[in-house]
Amino acid sequence: MASDLAIAVTRLALPKGKMLAQTSRLLASIGLGFADYNSKTRIYRMQSDSVPGLTAKMLNERDIPVQVAIGNYDFGICSSDWLQEMQTRYPNSRVYKVADLAYEMSSIYLACSDRSGISLSSLAGADTAWRIVTEYPALAEAAACRMRLRNFRIFPLWGSADAYPPENAELAVLKATDEEELRRLNLQPVKKICSSNACIIANSDSLESGDFSRLMSHFTALINNAALPAEEPERRPPTRQKDTVYRKSEQKVWLALADGHQQAHTINFLEKTEIRLQGYDKDDTQRRPLSNIDWLNIKVIRPQDMPQQVANGNFDLAITGRDWLLDHLYQFPSSPVTSLLDLGFGWVKIVAVVAEQVPADSIEGIKTLIALGKMTPLRMATEYINIADKYLRDRHIQRYRVVPTWGATEVYLPEDADMLIENTETGQTLARHKLKIIDTLFESTACLIGSRQSLAVPRKREKIDQLISIFRKAAAKK
C-alpha cells in the first residue's frame, strides 16, 4: 500500500522507572500500546502494533529531553522538571513541549533542614557561601542567581539530596510531591522553584519538517485520559526519617554508605565485620543509620557522589566503586581522595563497547573507521563522562562528543551513539543488546576511599586505621 510506505519512521522515547506504569496504561488506553512496554521487559526497542512506522525505546526519563533535543527521537514522554533543567542550561535546545499531561505531579523545592530555620530573607543578604546540593544544577544555579545569593556553590548529585542538610549542605534543590513529603524527610521548604508534571515533548526540527500528524492525532485523547482520575501507581511511601542530626565534632569519623543497587552488597559485606547498624536494611533505610561504634557518623548517599563529598571534606571515608573514584580523579587530578583498601566485592569490568555489526574489534579499528570518515564525530554515550573523555583524549580521537546518560546506556547503540563506556559483570546484557566489547579499560571493585586531609589529622588517623583493619579482616573472608 503506497500510503503506508510514505509514512516516515517516528521515533518515540518512553520513560523507564516510576513513570513507566502510568505511561504504559495511558498509551494502551488510546490504542498506542506497546506489548513490551512494562517494568519486567528486557526489550528496550519496541514497534507499535497499531501505528505503522512508530518505534519506541525505553530510556531513563532524565535522558529523554537531551535525546529528543539532539534529534535522536522525534517525540518523548518525560517529566517536565528534566525538560526545564535542560532548557535552563541550554536555552536554544531544539525541543518543544507539545502538551502537559496531568500525572506525575510534583514540585521542585529549595529546601533546608527543618532545624536550620533558613528563610528567603536570610538568604540574599548573608555572606555565607551557601552549599546547595541537587540533581538539578541548572535550575539551582538560576534560582540562586535570581535570589541574588552573594556566594554559593552548587554540588550536582546523582541523587539522595535529602540526606545532606543540614550537616553537609545548607540547602537542597529537590523534587517532592508536596511540602508534606519534604517534612517527612525532615526538610522545610524555603521556596518553590517550579512545578513538574508528565509532558509530551518533540524535536523542533522534526515538527518543522516531518509529517507526524498521524501520531499527533492521538494526543488529544492522551491529554484527556491523563486528566482522568487514575488509580495511582503503587508507591511505597518513603521511609519516615528519624529526626536526628549529627553534631559537628572533631572526634567523629564521617562514613558514607551506598543506597540503591550497591546497598545490598554493602550490607552483606558489613555483616562480615563486627560493625552493627540500625537503619541500614532494605526495608528501613535511614539517612543516618546508628552503629555500635560511637565515634562513627554514618550517612547513606549515592556511591557516584561519594568521591566529591569526601574531597570537599563532608566525609572522611566512603565505600564506593573504584570506577567512581577514577571518574572523580580524572575530573579533579589533584583531589585529596584516595583508595585506602580494596574490599573485593562488587566486581565489574569497565569496557568500551560498540554494536556487533561495526567492522572493528579494537579501538585501533575504530580509529581507522574514523579516519575513513565514518563515525565522525564519534558519539560516545556513558555514565562515566570523565573516564570516557580521558579514554578518547588519550587515544587521540580527534572529534568526539560525550553525551552523558543516567543509566540503561546499552539501548543507545547503534542508533543514538557509536560507542559506550559501560560496566559489565558477565557481558550477558551487552550480548542481549547485540553489542561487543572492543576494549577493557580496567576492573573495578568496591573500595574504601578516604581523604588525605583526614588522614593528616592524628585523632582521625587512629580511628580510620581501626576501621581499615576491621574492613581488611572482613575482605579476607570469602
Binding site: 530573607s121 538560576a142 541574588r148 552573594r150 556566594n151 556553590r153 570537599n312 575530573q331 579533579f332
Partner: protein
C-alpha cells in the same frame, strides 16, 4: 574549506591588528596624559565575584562561561572574565586599597555567550576606573576623558547621552515592590525594556507623570533637571538624586560639552549608582560609563566611591579610518642570490632597520610586495637597488647609498 574556528570566535588578521593597535595606542596615550596607569586582570575569576546584587544581572550571569577547575571539587566555579570593571575593583581592593585616589586603565577581552554565534562571544574593551572620589568633579573628569579619547580615536561625530541610576532607583523604590520584584524590574529596565516600568505604574498614580517625563523628554542642559525637580509629586528622595545629577550637569555645562539627558539610555549594568553616560557614534554605542559607589564595598568590603567607563573596541574599530602609519613606513625587500650572501643580506637589512626602514628578507626571490628591492651581488659590497614605482635600477657600493637612494630615513622607530 571547513571552518574549524569556534562558533562566535574571531581571528584578527594583520590589517585588523593594525587598527586594533591604533585604537589601543590612542586610548593609552590619552589615559597616560591624564595620569592613569595601566593594569591587567587575569582572564579567570571566581564566579562569586559577579553574583552579588549590584554586580551582574541574572540574565548576564546566564551567559557567562563558567566551569569547575581541575581542583574544583569544592564546587567553586571559575568564569572567563565577563566584565572589566568588577575585576578592576577586586584588583584595587587586594593590592591598592591604601591609595586614596587610584586612576587606572585597562585594555581587556570579555566573554559572554551569544546564541546565534553570528556576533562575537569574545569582545574587547578599553576602560578606565577613577577610584576614591565621590564626585561630582570626578564624574566630570571621566566624562571629559571619554570625550577626549573619542576625539583622539578619530571618531567622526559623536553624541553624549546622560542618565542617572540614582534617580531610576529612587523611582523604583517608590513603586513599593518587594525586594525580588524590585530587582526583577530593574533587570528588565537594564535589558532595555522600559515598558516594564510603565506596566508597573498604576500602583502609585502620583508618579505617573514623572515616569512619562523620564521616558519621553530629552534634556539639553541643567535647566531640564531644574524643571523636573519642580514637577508636582517629586518626593524628597527623588529631589536629592536630581540635585546630585544637577551638580554634575552644571559642571559639564561650564566645561562647554554638549549632551542630551535621556533617561532611557541607561543599559546593562546593575552596579551604577549615580551618573550614567554613553557615547553614541554612527548609530552605535561606542562607550558607556558612570558612577558605582557600592561596587568596591561589595567586592572587597572597603567602601570606596568610584566611577569609570569603557569603550567597545569592535564598534570603535568599525567607525574609524584605517590607520596609515605602518603603510607610511618604507619597506625594502633584501634579496640574496645564494647561500654565500645570506650573512651579507642579514647585515644589510640590520643597517636599513637601524635607519628606520622596514627590511624584509626574501629567500625565495619572489616577494614583490614592496616598492624597493635590494639585490645583493656576489661581488662584495655591491648592491642593485630597484624602485618599482619609478622603474629604476641603480647599482651602489655602500649601504648608505641604498638609504640615500630610497630617500633617507623612513618614518618608523
Amino acid at each position: 574549506m571547513e571552518i574549524q574556528r569556534c562558533k562566535g570566535a574571531r581571528d584578527l588578521l594583520p590589517d585588523d591588528m593594525e587598527r586594533f593597535r591604533q585604537v589601543e595606542d590612542a586610548f593609552r596615550n590619552t589615559c597616560i596624559s591624564w595620569g592613569y596607569r595601566e593594569i591587567k586582570t587575569p582572564t579567570l575569576e571566581y564566579i562569586h565575584l559577579f553574583t552579588a546584587t549590584g554586580t551582574l544581572t541574572p540574565s548576564m550571569l546566564g551567559r557567562v562561561y563558567s566551569f569547575l577547575d581541575w581542583d574544583g571539587w569544592g564546587g567553586e566555579r571559575i568564569v572567563l572574565r565577563p566584565d572589566g570593571t568588577i575585576p578592576a575593583a577586586r584588583l584595587y581592593c587586594e593590592n591598592m586599597s591604601g591609595q586614596d585616589i587610584a586612576r587606572l586603565y585597562y585594555v581587556t577581552n570579555v566573554f559572554a555567550f551569544e546564541e546565534t554565534g553570528a556576533s562575537d562571544r569574545e569582545k574587547w574593551q578599553c576602560g578606565v576606573e577613577l577610584i576614591g572620589d565621590p564626585g561630582p568633579v570626578s564624574d566630570a573628569e571621566v566624562l571629559a576623558l571619554a570625550i577626549e579619547a573619542s576625539t583622539a580615536l578619530g571618531l567622526p561625530k559623536f553624541e553624549i547621552k546622560l542618565s542617572h541610576a540614582g534617580i531610576l532607583k529612587a523611582l523604583i523604590a517608590e513603586l513599593k515592590l518587594d525586594a525580588e520584584a524590585r530587582a526583577l524590574l530593574l533587570d528588565e529596565i537594564l535589558e532595555g525594556n522600559w515598558q516594564a516600568l510603565s506596566n508597573a505604574r498604576g500602583r502609585s498614580k502620583g508618579i505617573d507623570s514623572i515616569l512619562s517625563w523620564l521616558m519621553e523628554l530629552k534634556g539639553k542642559s541643567s535647566a531640564f533637571l531644574a524643571n523636573l525637580k519642580a514637577m508636582p509629586g517629586i518626593s524628597r528622595n527623588l529631589a536629592q538624586e536630581i540635585d546630585r545629577f544637577t551638580a554634575i550637569t552644571e559642571l559639564i555645562d561650564n566645561l562647554g560639552y554638549k549632551y542630551e539627558i535621556d533617561f532611557t539610555s541607561i543599559r546593562g549594568f546593575e552596579y551604577y549608582t549615580g551618573l550614567c553616560f554613553k557615547i553614541v557614534s554612527g548609530g552605535a554605542r561606542i562607550c558607556s560609563g558612570g558612577r558605582y559607589d557600592n561596587l568596591i564595598g561589595l567586592v572587597g568590603g572597603i567602601e570606596k566611591p568610584a566611577c569609570g567607563f569603557a569603550f567597545y573596541f569592535d564598534q570603535v574599530v568599525a567607525l574609524i579610518k584605517p590607520w596609515t602609519r605602518q603603510k607610511a613606513w618604507k619597506t625594502v625587500i633584501v634579496r640574496s642570490p645564494g647561500k654565500a650572501s645570506i650573512k651579507s643580506a642579514f647585515s644589510v637589512a640590520a643597517t636599513l632597520r637601524r635607519a628606520g626602514l622596514i627590511a624584509e628578507l626574501d629567500f625565495s626571490g619572489s616577494q614583490m610586495n614592496a616598492r624597493w628591492t635590494v639585490n645583493i651581488q656576489f661581488r662584495p659590497k655591491a648592491y642593485i637597488v630597484r624602485d618599482a614605482v619609478r622603474n629604476v635600477d641603480k647599482a651602489v657600493a655602500e649601504v648608505k647609498d641604498i638609504i640615500n637612494f630610497i630617500g633617507g630615513s623612513g618614518n618608523g622607530i
